[in-house]
Structures are given as C-alpha cells and as structure tokens.
Symmetry: C2
Subunit: 96 residues, 2 copies
C-alpha cells in the first residue's frame, strides 16, 4: 500500500466521521422529541429498562470488529448526552 492508499482510507474515514456527526445529532433530536412527549405525559425521562433493551439490541446486531463491551461504553456515552440535552431544554423552559 502506498501513501495514496493511506490518503484514500483517510478520506473514507472523514466521510464516516461526518455521517456519524449527522446521525448523533439526529439521535439527539429524537431524544429531545421523546423528552417533550414524556414531559407532557408526566413520565420520568430516564428509563433504565428501555436503556437496557437498546443496549441488548445493539449487542444482538453487532457484527464487529468492535467487541460488545467497547460498544456498550460508547453507546452509554451517547445515551448520557441525549439525557443531558433533555435536562438542558427543561431548565431553559423553566427559566422562560
């Protein structure tokens, strides 16, 4: 493999980074919408059973190369961010 191949792989990686960026933000938008519905219904935003189910589904569908423990770690970080955003929105709503 030459330097050109390295460049090509890096370009592909940059594309994947931007696709991930788009999806992580899209996920955050959905979590915001779910938070709004839950708030109206007076349901607690954090739902550990639902989180467990999502992690199980991710593990079931995993074809690698990443191992389940690494994926669980990264998805828990992504979940936390979504919840953080919901809380932020609620605080903003309380201040207005």
């Amino acid at each position: 493999m030459s330097n050109n191949d390295l460049e090509l792989l890096r370009e592909k990686l940059d594309d994947v980074n931007l696709e991930l960026l788009h999806l992580i933000n899209k996920r955050a938008e959905l979590v915001q919408q779910i938070g709004q519905v839950k708030e109206k219904q007076g349901i607690n935003r954090y739902d550990p059973v639902r989180e467990r189910k999502m992690l199980d589904s991710i593990e079931d569908h995993n074809q690698g190369p990443l191992d389940p423990a690494s994926l669980k770690h990264i998805f828990k970080e992504i979940f936390k961010m979504g919840l953080g955003l919901q809380e932020e929105n609620q605080k903003k709503a309380l201040l207005v």
Copy 2:
C-alpha cells in the same frame, strides 16, 4: 402526542441506534486498515495533528442540536476505541 407517537419516535431511535452501530464498526474497520498501512511504513499509529484536524472538521460541520464540547467528548471516545483495536491487533500479531 399519544403513546403511538412515543412508540413511533422510539422505533426511529432504534433505527438510528443500529445505523450508528454499523457506522462505528465501519469506522473501526477503516482505522484497522490505516493501522496496517502505518505499521508497514513504520509510522506511529497515534497522530495528534490528524486527530485535531478531524475534531476541527467535525466542529465546522456541526449543525446541532449537540454542542461542540459534547461532540468532542463523544468523538474522542470513538477515536480511543479505534486506537485500542489497533493495539489489540498488533499484540495478536506479535503472539503468533
């Protein structure tokens, strides 16, 4: 919004989770390939300048709702996982 809407939003979220799973693994595969090229060329796998550039590009393309600091955090976790996988592969190669 009714419970049906909540279900619909959750289905969308599940789809996005699986798309993320696919992309995170695809990214890991690319990082593995890049690691192999670098190893052959005797280049250090960890490249802080390249990491900085990737984070800058992600920030430049961000349209929200997530803020740059949260995204930086999550992408650094994703980067770390890629590097961890490269090291694991190298260890395996050394053992054989």
